[in-house]
């Protein structure tokens, strides 16, 4: 096991993940949903405030097209595999559930002009935060903080209008969801690494 952990490789990382592949597959499959149904599932300000709370957890499965969904599915696979390796599937599941809530509420609070939103990248950012902060820094605390700082800069760039490469024209990047998800992943990261074989 230690040999595998020492040199995990992409394949063994992905093979060891349990939650991320299921989540990525669900994201891809949800592209086939009819648009009318997707509109009932996406993040929408007015219905959310009217009590349709399920949208907080269903919105990550809705996307603005196949390219958007595919990019997010890949991001979920990568960050999910890293997070599961670092924190275990139970923690990953908990972080996903809480990050969906936090990112949805973050968008409500900090993006008042936004009426609707689709996408799973807030969850991927939550998994990235979890993977970054779970366990000790392994002698690389500076790198950890530098990466966290880079993420903050990235969110700031998104806030100031940097376009999302896989988003259709005119659709703004949900920076508040990304930031809230990332913060949630860091906040819920365990101090010790996961003790499981992968």
């Amino acid at each position: 096991m230690s040999a595998r952990l020492a040199s995990p490789g992409v394949v063994s990382y992905l093979a060891g993940a349990r939650i991320a592949p299921v989540l990525a597959a669900a994201v891809i499959a949800a592209v086939l949903l009819p648009d009318a149904l997707a509109q009932r599932l996406e993040w929408q300000r007015v219905p959310l405030l009217a009590g349709e709370a399920w949208r907080l957890w269903t919105a990550p499965f809705t996307h603005h097209g196949t390219a958007h969904a595919a990019a997010n599915a890949i991001a979920l696979l990568v960050t999910g595999a890293l997070a599961e390796r670092a924190a275990g599937p139970g923690r990953v599941a908990a972080v996903l559930a809480i990050a969906a809530l936090a990112s949805g509420l973050g968008q409500l609070a900090f993006m008042p002009a936004m009426e609707s939103c689709r996408g799973a990248s807030s969850l991927a950012w939550a998994l990235a935060g979890l993977a970054l902060w779970a366990g000790p820094a392994g002698g690389l605390p500076f790198v950890r903080w530098a990466l966290a700082g880079l993420a903050v800069v990235k969110f700031w760039l998104e806030m100031t209008g940097a376009p999302g490469a896989t988003l259709p024209e005119g659709v703004a990047v949900a920076w508040a969801g990304h930031a809230a998800g990332f913060a949630c992943g860091i906040a819920l990261a365990p101090a010790s690494p996961a003790t499981r074989s992968a």
Binding site: A75, A113, M114, S116, S121, G139, L150
Partner: protein, 276 residues
Amino acid sequence: MSRVLLAFVAAALLLPGCAANFPRREVRQSASVVEYLYPKADEAPKLEPGIAILKPPVKVGIAFVPSAPRPGALPEPERAKLLARMKSSFEGRDFIGRIEVIPTAYLRPGGGFDNLAQVARMFDVDVVALVSHDQVRFNDSNALAVLYWTLVGAYVVNGDEYDIHTMIDVSVFDVASRRLLLRAPGTSRVGGSANLANYGERTRLAQADGYEKAVAEAVPRLDSELDGLKARIRAADPGVRVENRPGYKGGSAFDAGSLAFFAALAAFAWMRRRGG
């Protein structure tokens, strides 16, 4: 004998009084959207609208077309009630945001597009649904009216009839381009009879009923026209263009910067394992 004579004289004196108090045969209330928007037009207005650029969520104002004050005009609370019913057609649509009911007092009769633009700025709306109306009440007497002579008959015999024709028309204008986006009409006809004593009250209620029925007919048409507007936009109507308001739609997505970050994260994880 002298008492009978006195009664005849009294009746003869009262008769002109009744006739003088009786309403005109035709009473009209109207407010025309053309007269409001083109008050000085000596000829038919030449519509040269630009392209309507809609930025969802479109902010909508709804108002009755103003008309010169006259007795018997639809009172403002009734107007507010009718506008609230029409407002429901605009609600729940993903491309429509805030909907404002604009009291008639804010619009000036014959104010034109300049007045419309002022009000749109004041209420911060992009498009305005103007509700014009035309209501005609015909008053007629029937054969039973002769019993009004008995005086008691004026209170118990329905000797007068009314027939009320109402037309409501909702015209939705893009304020910036002055373009008519859609219109939805509704009509109604309400008839009935009353006695001389309650004629005023009955006709007032019937007129309000006429407006309500006309609005009830206009609302489904308005729904249908709004559905049609969305379809027209999707079909690339050359007169209407949609531009997204910044931040209206959000997407949680990745770009090159995000992917670079995840690559760095993977490298960090790999180095941590190596180091730990």
